[in-house]
């Protein structure tokens, strides 16, 4: 549609888009890393402080020079967090500071030392979380790019998951109980999840477009409604016979997405991550290289300009929310088909974590993968922190909040950067601007940050 009206408006928007994409990208990555570093630093002091007030018989860590004893070892916590998420490739802290047989990575499957293999349960959990967060992160990101704040990914995921479980269980008898039948059922299940989540996402989209109802509020409400209605439906109608929890019947084994290399107990399937990566690249191409994706982005950055250039803003809103909901719904399908094998009431907060993933990724589909991996590591590592240390694993929740807080304040890092290294803006951009250009460049970054937020 936007093609029908070429000219000044369009050229202006394109130059705007190019500027945002070009400059804020590197900036964003730097800010994400700075936020992560600062969160770990603040987390370090939180552990230190709480280790001082907690009660224990022997100090886990003694501060050099001062000789003060602490119940928690802040170095160990972060080491266990990141090492544990990978299943412990590094031997540090096991018996002593350094294991005599220490090697950074031992590779038993190549005939190296016995010990760590990448295909372990802890790393499987990290990867499983990463996979699910790729979907919910993409879901939030696509809505964000269209200028919509979809807090409802959680509800869309719940609906998509329920529909997947019901459809696959219902259709299972119609297909042969083998690999082929399984693949067909998985395809149908994922499609059902996408349709369920898409429809659930279309509701706030339509309400926003045609009744001007704030999508932040309606999606929060729809989350509560989805959780409660799904719970009642399963409790009253679809509950599996003899199940002690509120859950549907199990999806047949052959219709679940199983692992190739990882242990079956890890609830992670490489194929699911592959579907996630395909969705990720697909969404990136859709946003950057199709006219529909272009309309969607323009409506997000300059709604008025989009209207002038002939974009149907109302329809774009509904489309964006439907697409966002469908991605959340597929996340629900993958959760059912890969992790649980059925719909159960205790659904993790994957949709809410998707918001944090998308924010950290700067709402860019390509950024969603590393952001999802980071939060996957935090999730997988939290369990190990609980097992291996006395520090409450809830610490990871605090870290998550801090990361988002720091990502939200790029101005803070810019001020620090300016104070430390006055010429840093040029330096980080590979010297594409000479002296005197720095001020203009920084201003442009400011614009980018605000417009896309």
């Amino acid at each position: 549609m936007s093609r029908s009206r070429p000219g000044a408006v369009r050229a202006r928007i394109e130059s705007l888009l190019r500027r945002f994409a070009g400059i804020s990208g590197i900036d964003r990555v730097l800010i994400a890393f700075a936020a992560l570093g600062l969160s770990v630093l603040v987390g370090f002091f939180i552990v230190l402080g709480s280790g001082r007030v907690a009660e224990c018989s022997t100090a886990a860590w003694t501060m050099p020079i001062t000789g003060l004893g602490f119940c928690y070892d802040p170095f160990e916590v972060f080491f266990v967090l990141f090492n544990g998420a990978l299943g412990g490739p590094f031997y540090v802290w096991e018996p002593g500071i350094l294991n005599p047989e220490w090697l950074p990575i031992t590779l038993p499957w190549l005939g190296f030392m016995p010990g760590w293999s990448p295909f372990n349960n802890a790393f499987a959990l990290t990867m499983s979380e990463t996979t699910l967060l790729v979907f919910t992160g993409l879901s939030v990101a696509v809505a964000f790019r269209a200028g919509l704040f979809n807090i409802g990914t959680q509800g869309q995921l719940v609906v998509g998951a329920l529909l997947t479980a019901l459809v696959v269980v219902a259709l299972a008898p119609l297909f042969p109980a083998n690999r082929v039948g399984g693949v067909i059922l998985i395809a149908i299940g994922v499609l059902a999840g996408a349709v369920g989540g898409g429809l659930w996402g279309a509701i706030p989209g339509a309400l926003k477009a045609y009744a001007d109802a704030n999508e932040v509020i309606t999606t929060i409400m729809l989350n509560f409604i989805a959780a409660n209605v799904a719970y009642v439906l399963v409790l009253e109608v679809f509950r599996a016979e003899g199940s002690s929890v509120v859950a549907t019947a199990d999806v047949p084994e052959y219709a679940q997405i199983g692992p190739w290399l990882f242990p079956p107990t890890g609830d992670f399937a490489e194929a699911a991550l592959l579907i996630g990566l395909v969705s990720l690249v697909g969404l990136y191409l859709f946003l950057e290289h199709t006219s529909l994706g272009y309309d969607l982005r323009v409506s997000g950055i300059q709604p008025l300009a989009a209207e002038y250039s002939g974009v149907n803003a109302k329809l774009t809103t509904v489309r964006a929310m439907t697409l966002s909901g469908a991605l959340g719904g597929i996340g629900g399908s993958i959760w059912v088909l890969m992790s649980e094998g059925r719909w159960v009431e205790s659904i993790p907060d994957l949709g809410f974590d998707g918001i944090t993933v998308s924010i950290l990724a700067g709402n860019n589909p390509l950024g969603v993968l590393p952001a999802a991996a980071l939060f996957g590591v935090l999730k997988g590592g939290a369990l190990q922190v609980g097992f291996q240390t006395d520090v409450p694993p809830e610490l990871v929740g605090v870290l998550r909040g801090l990361i988002i807080l720091f990502v939200a304040m790029p101005e803070f890092f810019r001020l620090i950067g300016k104070r430390l290294v006055p010429d840093e803006p040029e330096a980080t951009r590979g010297g594409d601007g000479k002296d005197g250009d720095g001020v203009g460049g920084t201003a442009a970054v400011d614009d980018g940050g605000e417009a896309s937020a």
Binding site: V229, E394, F412
Partner: protein
């Protein structure tokens, strides 16, 4: 609220409302209660009779007061922040942090034998408010001084509190749930809700500060021109949201007598409901009181119906307020966000 005749007094109430939409919210709340009482009195054997029997009991009033305290007070706080131009989506986090702090302080004081019972709870209440104010202040600095995106920073406030409260509870007590400190009467909740609403309404509509606050959200440039610092007013708005939400969170936890930190903690989304409530009440404190009471009474009624043995699944009854909000947002009410809310303001010098 027990008096069905309150519906008749609307002409008097109208003088304070002066807004047809808010009036509708208030009338809807109290009118439906009056209607229920009428039917219950006429047909005591029917469902309506059972319902009114359930609604108009002391237990129901107490439960409504307890549930409405965090919702209404957080909503009042949200009004102050948003009227000044800062959207505070982190009310949930403020409720969580104040709920935990109030119990922690009350417990520690009692445990050390410094203060006991009511006195410890009294100090705990103010400690909770202080914790909420501190977190709100950090949020304000991040948003106003460092120009953070308000929605994202608000989410961060929620996430930080959601992690921090169970974390600290585990550090101190070895469990995400704290031990009990004894609960306070529902009358405190009811009284503070009433006082808070009146104070908020008076401050917003009848003081110079209230005018400045609204100007900071509607037309910051005009306020700047008059020589009032926009960022100072906005800081005040955010800190006030911390005060009100902190009072709500402390009352919530002290009303139960302990802090529960599993899952979404004992706050369970009341901060988000509070946002809905003040939008529903169109940024009017009295409207927020009406909408908040409506939500709280539906919640309390749902619990009561379970006890009476009605076969409706509680989860389904719980959805009613949420569905109502969507319908109202879509078809009835058009709340207008302050025009400069969510924007940064640069002083021109």
């Amino acid at each position: 609220m027990r008096n069905p005749l309150s519906a008749v007094e609307i002409p008097v109430v109208d003088r304070f409302l002066g807004d047809g939409y808010v009036r509708n919210v208030v009338v809807m709340t109290f009118g439906s209660l009056a209607l229920l009482a009428l039917f219950g009195a006429l047909f005591p054997e029917s469902v309506a009779g059972d319902l009114s029997g359930a609604v108009f009991t002391g237990g129901m009033v107490a439960a409504t007061a307890r549930i409405s305290a965090p919702i209404v007070l957080a909503a009042l706080g949200g009004i102050f922040a948003e009227k000044s131009g800062v959207i505070n989506i982190g009310l949930e986090g403020l409720l969580i942090i104040s709920a935990f702090t109030s119990i922690y302080v009350a417990y520690v004081l009692g445990d050390a034998g410094i203060l006991t019972g009511g006195n410890a709870q009294f100090v705990g209440f103010f400690a909770g408010v202080l914790a909420s104010v501190l977190l709100a202040f950090v949020f304000g600095v991040v948003c106003i001084e460092y120009k953070a995106d308000q929605i994202i920073a608000g989410l961060a406030v929620w996430l930080i509190a959601l992690g921090l409260a169970p974390f600290l509870s585990t550090v101190f007590f070895g469990s995400v749930n704290t031990p009990g400190v004894g609960n306070i009467g529902w009358q405190y909740s009811a009284a503070l809700v009433a006082v808070g609403t009146v104070v908020a309404w008076w401050t917003l509509d009848h003081t110079a500060f209230g005018t400045h606050l609204k100007a900071a959200g509607e037309n910051p440039r005009a306020l700047d021109t008059v020589g009032v610092s926009v960022s100072k007013i906005r800081h005040a708005g955010v800190i006030l949201s911390g005060v009100f939400a902190g009072a709500g969170g402390s009352l919530l936890a002290l009303g139960v007598g302990r802090f529960g930190g599993s899952g979404e903690t004992m706050v369970q989304g009341k901060g988000f409901i509070a946002i809905v409530v003040y939008l529903f009440g169109n940024y009017n404190p009295l409207g927020a009181l009406g909408a908040g009471t409506l939500f709280a009474s539906l919640d309390a009624l749902q619990t009561r119906l379970q006890q009476l043995g009605y076969g409706i699944p509680s989860s389904l009854v719980e959805t009613i307020p949420y569905v109502v909000v969507i319908i109202v947002l879509a078809f009835v009410g058009r709340t207008r966000i302050p025009s400069a809310a969510g924007d940064h303001y640069e002083t021109e010098e």
